[in-house]
Amino acid sequence: MLQTNLYHVETVEQFQELLQNNEKVAIVCGRMGPMCIPVYGVMESLASRYPDVQFRDMEFDSPVGRETIRALPETRNFNGLPFTVYFRNGRVVAATSSIQTKQQVKEILDRTMCGTTAGAQG
């Protein structure tokens, strides 16, 4: 279990419901490791600034991690934790591998989550 202040996605059903019921979703899939902890912190700090985005985390080694985020074509070539995936209307609009700064995450959110249409894949 990840020790963060984010809500966790723990089952495939939760993942599907989340994407079905929300337009904008960002999920950090990682472990409690040095490259992941800063990204959870960034997401926690941005939650109030982007109230319409659902920020979640997911255990990298759990079945839901393997069957959802890690199974996406967008993360196939990733080999740096965490995998962070941004969804809009159920579609992947950006995905990053490894540690990210608050500035980098803000840039992706502004590019892909603001406005009325989904942004380009990042």
């Binding site: 040095p34 490259m35 800063p38 926690e44 080999n79 740096g80 700064t101």
Partner: protein, 329 residues
């Protein structure tokens, strides 16, 4: 929200959190601000085995305790808080923090630490997380039975290369000089490992591949010979640089960007102190950062108390009126 503090600490790594503990315990009203994750480099450390009094712990555990101590004594600790403006020149230092407001204090401690040194070639960013990594413990298992490289020649490079042999088929250590900076025991350990080979006096020219890293192109520094090394992973351990670019023109920096101080950790500006890896010093460790944070905090306490004892400086208007007053016969 109260905007006036006795001391503002910039940076919440080992040095900044320690300063926070000492300041708050001395009943200084203390604000510790970090633009990133609380804990700094300690958060990036899986296991710390040389912090006296703690047998072995993860960096994150030590951070959690230090933060609890600082907050327990009354310090306010803010993470992920971007500093928009900093004016350290006058007697009242001003620090403006995004979404939080503008804060003032007679003293500031700069504890901004270091950031990993990058090679600075364009392909480095493109392959981050797609082959390039800065953390062997985090990402090593992605490279099971693959050929990878480790770039660097210090202790971290040697130790991490050895640890990566648990996963990789081969590990090639690429170094720019003809000798290592690492301690002899660390080099010896790497040399003994049959999976490790060495490429010396090489500059990295390019990381290449399609969707993920496939090869690392190096150039021999003396002969100019170009070699493409097949590798799906490249782990970079080429040291840290002081995180002081934003302090240029604000406080004196040496040619390496480090903050010079005296032995009380005072900088060239009255009321501004420095602590930790951002300072000029030879050994950068948690213990030395903690010691620096202690010294800077106690110096700042003396400075603030001394200032409080001095009669307030007359304002420009008061001085003007005083100078105009006719001399009594």
């Amino acid at each position: 929200m109260d905007a006036r503090y006795d001391v503002i600490v910039i940076g919440a790594g080992a040095a900044g959190l320690t300063a926070g503990i000492y300041l708050a315990r001395a009943r200084m009203k203390t604000l510790v601000v970090d633009h990133g994750t609380i804990g700094g480099q300690m958060i990036l450390t899986y296991s710390v085995a040389n912090y006296p009094g703690v047998a072995e712990a993860s960096g994150a555990e030590i951070v959690a305790t230090m933060r609890r101590q600082a907050e327990g004594f009354g310090a306010r600790v803010l993470g992920q808080a971007d500093i928009l403006r900093m004016d350290l020149s006058g007697p009242d230092k001003v620090v403006e923090v995004e979404d939080e407001g503008t804060f003032t204090a007679p003293a500031v401690i700069l504890a901004t630490g270091g950031v990993p040194r990058k090679l600075g070639i364009p392909s480095e960013d493109a392959f981050q997380g797609r082959g390039i990594s800065y953390c062997a413990t985090c990402d090593g298992d992605f490279f099971m039975d693959q050929d990878i490289v480790v770039i660097g020649g210090g202790n971290s490079a040697m130790e991490e290369a050895v640890s990566l042999t648990k996963y990789a088929r081969t590990v090639t250590i690429i170094h720019e000089f003809d000798h290592f900076q690492a301690q002899p025991w660390a080099v010896e350990e790497a040399r003994k490992n049959p999976k490790i080979r060495f490429l010396m006096e090489q500059d990295i020219r390019e990381f290449a591949g399609d969707e993920h890293l496939e090869k690392v192109v190096v150039v021999h520094k003396r002969t100019g010979e170009v070699t493409a090394i097949p590798a799906t992973g490249a782990f970079l351990f080429i040291g840290y640089v002081p995180n002081t670019a934003h302090l240029k023109g604000i406080v004196h920096l040496n040619e390496r960007g480090e903050i010079p101080t005296d032995d009380l950790n005072r900088t060239n500006i009255p009321g501004v102190f420095a602590a930790g890896d951002a300072r000029v010093k030879r050994y950068r460790q948690i213990t030395t950062a903690v010691a620096d944070g202690t010294i800077a905090a106690l110096s700042a306490v003396d400075y603030v108390n001394e200032r409080a004892r001095q009669p307030a400086m007359p304002s420009r208007r008061q001085r003007f009126l005083k100078e105009r007053r006719p001399v009594q016969a």
